[in-house]
């Protein structure tokens, strides 16, 4: 089961924020059959507030290029991009209320969060226990 299935099982919503346009977000949702909640933040204010990394050399770091080549070998093809080219991503487990449970900021493109660690954080003292 993928992480979305495990989150659904635990009753935890996946909320995505993108730096592109609402149209780009709708295209993304349809293309990838994304079933979480989707928002956009084109002025990047939310990214800055969470101190998510941004920079040319973070997008084109040597490790990013290696990960990109690996992804292409696995069949991934970069489509039309919509959003800030230099903005990196991140994953946070939040709430309920004033609680920051987990944080991962991509140091470079392709530096993804450990999904097992994300799931462990989600279930830690979770207000919703899986059935």
């Amino acid at each position: 089961m993928d992480i979305k299935g495990k989150l659904d099982e635990a009753g935890i919503p996946l909320v995505a924020v993108g730096s592109g346009s609402p149209g780009g977000a709708r295209h993304f949702v349809e293309k990838l059959h994304f079933t979480g909640e989707m928002y956009v933040n084109q002025d990047l204010s939310a990214y800055r507030a969470f101190k998510v990394e941004r920079g040319f050399w973070k997008t084109f770091a040597p490790a990013s290029l290696i990960r990109g080549i690996q992804a292409m070998r696995e069949g991934f093809r970069q489509g039309r991009m919509d959003g800030d080219n230099w903005q990196q991503g991140g994953v946070f487990v939040m709430g309920p209320g004033n609680a920051l449970i987990f944080q991962h900021r991509n140091k470079f493109a392709g530096d993804h969060a450990d999904l097992d660690a994300v799931l462990a954080a989600v279930l830690r003292d979770s207000p919703v226990q899986p059935a």
């Binding site: 935890i12 939310a46 004033n98 920051l100």
Partner: protein
């Protein structure tokens, strides 16, 4: 970063829903736990 450090940084910040509504950022986890994923870009 702790939540106490984050809290003043998110005051007044909104995100836009796909329906065009401005949504207060911290309302996204008000009363519920969520996984919040910041995407690099669409595409």
């Amino acid at each position: 970063m702790t939540y106490d450090e984050l809290k003043p940084r998110i005051v007044g910040i909104t995100v836009q829903s796909l329906q065009g509504n401005e949504v207060r950022l911290d309302s996204l986890w008000e009363g519920r736990r969520i996984v919040l994923a910041f995407l690099r870009h669409f595409g």
